[in-house]
Amino acid sequence: MPHKADYDLVNIQRWMQSVITHPLGVQAGIESPAAQDEICVQPEQVEGVICPSRNRTSIQRLEVYGNAYFARLLECMREFFPATADALGVDVFDQFTLEYLQRHPSQSYTLGHLADHFVSFLETSGEQAGETGAAHWSDFFIDLARLEWTIDQIFDGPGVENDTLMSTDQLAEIGPDRWPHARLIPVVCLRLLSLKFPVSNYYTAFRRQQKPAIPTAAPSYLALTRKDYIVRRFTINEPQFTLLRALVRGEPVGAAIECAVEKVDDLDHFAETLQSSFKLWASQGFFQRVELTQNS
C-alpha cells in the first residue's frame, strides 16, 4: 500500500468520485478499476485514505456520500418528471433513471441540464426492447416524459414577456396578395409536439391529483408557449401541426398551407377554420412578427 503522502489531490478526487458514484456501493467502488487506477487500496485498507472516526468506520463514512449521490439525483429527476414517475411507479422510474444517470452523468454546473438526454434514453430503451412501429405502451411514458421536459424547458428558457408581439390586427392588415409570401416568425418559446398518446389530458388530470388511467393510444398534437411566465398548452390537429411546423422551419404562409393540405381530409372545413386558427395563434402570442418579403 502506498504511503498516504503519495496521494495527491488529483488522485484523491478521482478515486473518491469513482468510489461514491459506483452504482453497487462504496465497497464495489473501491474495488473498481477506475478507483484502483487512482489509488490502489482494497476496502480493508481504506483507512490509509479515509480516516475512521470514533464511532464510524472509513467505509461507513464514505457511504454517506455514496448513498447521497444517487438519492439526490433521483430526487431531482422525480421533480423534473413527476407525472412520468407516478405513471411508471417510483421503483420502475428509479430503475430507468439509475441506468440513465450512469450513462449520462451530470457534466454541468446546474441541475437544469441533468435530464437533457432522458427522453432520448427512454426512446433508445424502447427500441432496444424491440418496440418500434405502432404505438406501444412504452410510448406513453416516452410521450409523457417528453411533455414534462418540454414544459420545463419553456418555463425557465427564453421568453417574450417584455416584447411586443404580432397582434391579430397586424395579421388582419396583411393583404390577400401578400399573405402567401408572408413569413410569420414564431416566438422563441413556441414548441410543437407530435405524440402517439394523448398525454396532455393525462398530465392535466395528474396535476389535479385525479389519478388518471393510462389512455388508449391515439395520435395527438400540441403547441406550447409561454405567456406571463406561465407555460400554456394548445391541442391542435395534424394539419395545424404540419402548418405550424412549416412556419417554424421558415416557410412562407402559402407554402406552409400547402404542406398542411397534404394532411387534410376535409378541405372545406380546413379552409373555413384556417383564418380563425391564425387569429387564435396570434392572440395567444405564437408569433413574434410578420416579415413581408419583396415578393409579397
Binding site: 498516504k4 503522502a5 496521494y7 495527491d8 489531490l9 488529483v10 484523491i12 478526487q13 478521482r14 473518491m16 468520485q17 461514491i20 458514484t21 483507512e47 490509509g48 485514505v49 479515509i50 480516516c51 472516526s53 470514533r54 464511532n55 464510524r56 472509513s58 463514512r61 464514505l62 454517506v64 456520500y65 448513498n67 447521497a68 449521490y69 438519492a71 439526490r72 439525483l73 430526487e75 431531482c76 421533480e79 423534473f80 452523468p105 451530470s106 457534466q107 454546473y109 446546474t110 441541475l111 437544469g112 414544459i151 420545463d152 419553456i154 418555463f155 425557465d156 428558457g157 427564453p158 421568453g159 414577456e161 396535476r207 409561454r226 411566465y229 406561465i230 407555460v231 400554456r232 398548452r233
Partner: protein, 353 residues
Amino acid sequence: MRPKCSRADTVVNPLKKLMNIPGTGGARDIFHTGCPQDFCGQNAGMIARRLGHENLGLGVGLRTVHFSHILKNNPPVDWFEIISENFMDSRGRPRYVLDQIAERYQIVMHGVSLSIGSTDPLNREYLQKLKQLADEVNAFWVSDHLCWTGVATRNSHDLLPVPFNEDTLRHVVSRIRIVQDILERPLVLENPSSYVTFAASTMSEWEFITRMAAEADCGILLDVNNVYVSSVNHDFDPEHYIRSVPHERVVQFHLAGHTNMGNYCIDTHDGRVIDPVWKLYQLAHELTGGVSTLLEWDARIPPFEELHAEVLQARHHMGGQLDHLPPPVAAPDTPADGSAVPHPLHYVLPDVR
C-alpha cells in the same frame, strides 16, 4: 489589486434601507453597521471587520415556494440569500421574481457549483455568468463553499471535502485569486458539513480556513450548524473551531437544522436550529461583534412566517451570557432515518396551464 471592500460600504439602495426600518425588530439597531473605520483588533492588522462588508441583519434563503408570499406581503426581512445557480441561467419566472425582490430587498448570492477545490480547470463561462448576475441584482457579496463538486468533467452536485494540507492550500488559494479577479470582488467561502476526513490531511479545518482566508484575502461564511455537524462526525470541539477562525474575516453566518443519525449527523436543512447550535452562534456572535446571519431551510420548508420567526430567534442569542457549551454528541433519542440526504438540491418547479 483586488478590492478590500464591496461597493456595499458606500452604495446602499435607499429603498432597500426603507424596507428594513419599520417593523423589522430592529436588526440594524442591534448590530453596529460596517464602515471603513470599523477595524478588528487582535491579529487583524488593517483588515476591516467583515472585510468591510455591511452587517445586513437577519436574512433567510429565498426559496420558490415563498415567491408569491414575498411579492404579495413584502415581509419585513432584512435580506435574502439566493442560490446563484437557480438564477444565473433563468430566463423565466424565477429570474423575473428575483428582479422584483432585488428591487425591494438586499441580496446576497450563494453558490453550490464553484468547485473551488477541484483539480479540474475553473469554469470561466460559469464565472462570467456569476459575475453578470451579481452585477445585475446588485449582490452585496458572492459566496460558495470550500469544497469540490466533481472532477473529470463530472459534477456530483455534492459539496465534497478536500484534504487539509499544504498542496491543497496552494491549489485553493491560487484558484480563489483567479475567481476574485474575474468576479472583481472578494470571494466569501463557507465551511461545508463533511462526513469524511483524509489521511492526507496535515492540519485542522480551522487552520486551513484561517491560512486560506489570509493568503487569498477572501472572506469566510461561517456556517455554525456545519461546524456542529462536522464536530460530531469528526470528533472535534466545535467551540475551539469557532474560537480559532479569523473573526475579522467572517462576513456572514449560516444557521440551519440537521438530521441526527444516531452516531453522526447529516446537514439536511430540514428543520429548526437546535440549542447547541444556537449556543455556538452566541459564541460566534460575541467573537465577531455580529455579522449578517442567515437561516437555510431547504427541505420540508415551512410557511414563510415560521421560517422568518426561526431566524429572528437569533436576537435572543446576541449579547447573552455564554453558558457552558454542551458536548457535541448526538442525542440518543433522535431516530436515525436512512433516507436523509445532505443538501444542496436546487430545482424550480414550473407553472403550467
